[in-house]
């Protein structure tokens, strides 16, 4: 009796807070029929937004991937002083409001910022241009891959690498042939989460973008503009593409967790796992 009461309460809560908003996106997008939906998605401005979103993710995810692998290698394979402080610093962007994440790059690269004068002298635009959007995205997605890889590499130890080296492999060979295959699922998991955030980021990107249509509008920003123009069908149509991306991310995440059950808790309590490992 009590058991079913709990199950029904949990399901009702999840239904109201998770399922209904998701359904609402698709219902609103299709409210005026498939043709309106199709036209909204095919609009040139929508395509410009899709392209910019893909471009930003294509720059930000690989850069944070290289950083994540480097940081995890140093942290998981070696002991040094200040290691736990370094892990805390890597997590720092999670504690920063997206709005502040965008603001810091205006303070550094904006017209009145630290490098504003010299950038203007060389006609380089960072803020209110694509480089600013990339920087803000890099900042908000900074910890994703590193914090995924650190526990994975730690749990694997360094025996495999040491064996490869003692058999005469070079450092790079060891990394490509031994380490990378060992961490590939964790890597993919981190990339998946990093990419979802990179494509969906709103607050940080909104602050640095300047909202120039067709030039500095990513998909989430385009959704906001359409929505504020009361063009709800188009806004929800573009939003539905982002919702599909979210569903694909969740599906991919579930598949990876099913393959590698230990990935499940890596996201949740990285610090705790680090200590136990």
């Amino acid at each position: 009796m009590g058991r079913w009461l709990l199950i029904v309460t949990a399901l009702l809560f999840l239904c109201v807070f998770l399922v209904l908003p998701l359904l609402a996106v698709f219902a609103q997008a299709l409210a005026k029929g498939f043709e309106a939906y199709y036209l909204a998605i095919m609009a040139p401005m929508a395509w410009a937004a899709v392209k910019l979103t893909l471009l930003v993710a294509a720059i930000a995810v690989p850069l944070n991937l290289i950083f994540g692998v480097a940081a995890a290698w140093a942290i998981a394979k070696f002991n040094f002083r200040g290691k736990s402080a370094l892990i805390t610093l890597i997590d720092l962007p999670f504690a920063v409001s997206p709005v502040i994440a965008g603001m810091i790059f205006i303070l550094v690269f904006g017209t009145h910022g630290w490098f504003g004068g010299s950038l203007r002298a060389h006609h380089i635009r960072v803020v209110f241009a694509v480089p600013g959007i990339v920087l803000a995205t890099l900042f908000v997605t900074f910890p994703f891959i590193a914090r995924e890889l650190i526990p994975v590499m730690q749990s694997q130890g360094k025996d495999d690498e040491e064996t490869a080296l003692s058999l005469g492999a070079t450092g790079w060979q060891t990394f490509w042939r031994v380490t990378l295959p060992n961490i590939r699922w964790g890597l993919l998991y981190g990339v998946l989460l990093c990419n979802a955030r990179a494509m969906g980021e709103f607050g940080a990107v909104s602050v640095v973008s300047g909202h120039i249509r067709g030039v500095t509008n990513t998909m989430p920003l385009h959704v906001e503009i359409l929505y504020n123009e009361y063009n709800y069908t188009a806004a929800f149509a573009v939003a539905s593409l982002l919702a599909l991306l979210a569903l694909l991310t969740l599906a991919g995440k579930s598949i990876l967790e099913w393959r590698q059950p230990e990935l499940r808790h890596a996201v949740r309590m990285p610090r705790d796992r680090t200590r136990r490992a």
Binding site: R3, L14, T88, L92, P98, I100, S206, M219, L247, K253
Partner: protein, 285 residues
Amino acid sequence: MATTASVALKRRKTRHVLPGFGLTLGYTMVYLSLLVLIPLSAVFIRSVGSGWGHFWEVVTAPRVLASLRLSFGASLVAASINVVFGLIVSWVLVRYTFPFKRFIDGMVDLPFALPTAVAGIALTALYAPNGWLGVWLAPLGLNVAFTPVGIVVALTFIGLPFVVRTLQPVLEELDKEVEQAAASLGASPLQAFCRVIFPALWPALLTGFALAFARAIGEYGSVIFIAGNMPMRSEIAPLLIVSKLEQYDYAGATAIAVVMLVLSFAIMFGINALQNWASSRHGER
């Protein structure tokens, strides 16, 4: 003498037998500094530059105080709702079996994966007076969209996975036999929960609460659509930062940002300390 030296040398060699320590740590430090530490320091350096008097003047302005109070108050309420329902959800997911359980478990992460702007407009569409839920709530005199209640709804949405995902592993490790022992000794289910389960769970509950709270304070995208954004009433602190930036009032924006950053960092260090303490307690047993 010579042998001890060679032994020491050997030990030093074997300790760092893997290559790449200098390269990877160096790269990590440079990348971290350029992208995170130096830009973040700009906030503090800027606000010091404008002077303490100006800082205090900005931060104690009624509109700023109202927005900070709203941000922290709504985040507190939302994180508390998440603790209650997050406990029920994670309990049900760990302990019981029912149809589509794996699917539902996967859906819990939706707020992590769904872009905040999409969540914002979806929740607004639901709770607007003519929306699926708003239609039912409006006759009851309950206006959610464009009021502080709407802010709490949006913050509850984004905070949910933090509590559930923090509790799940702890619940999975919790021994069912302890409860059964409590029950066989005559404890009622409520007593068993209060005396046996809750003491094991509360560090995770508090961590989940703090994570959801910290995320909610800084949240922007999902809130601004549903909030109505009326100064003094439904204007959150991050939005006030944005509007000050749009007016090129950088000194004002940095002053609010400093308050929020200091509080967020304090929460983060609190979470770290709590987890250290909890895992050391766990280790002792």
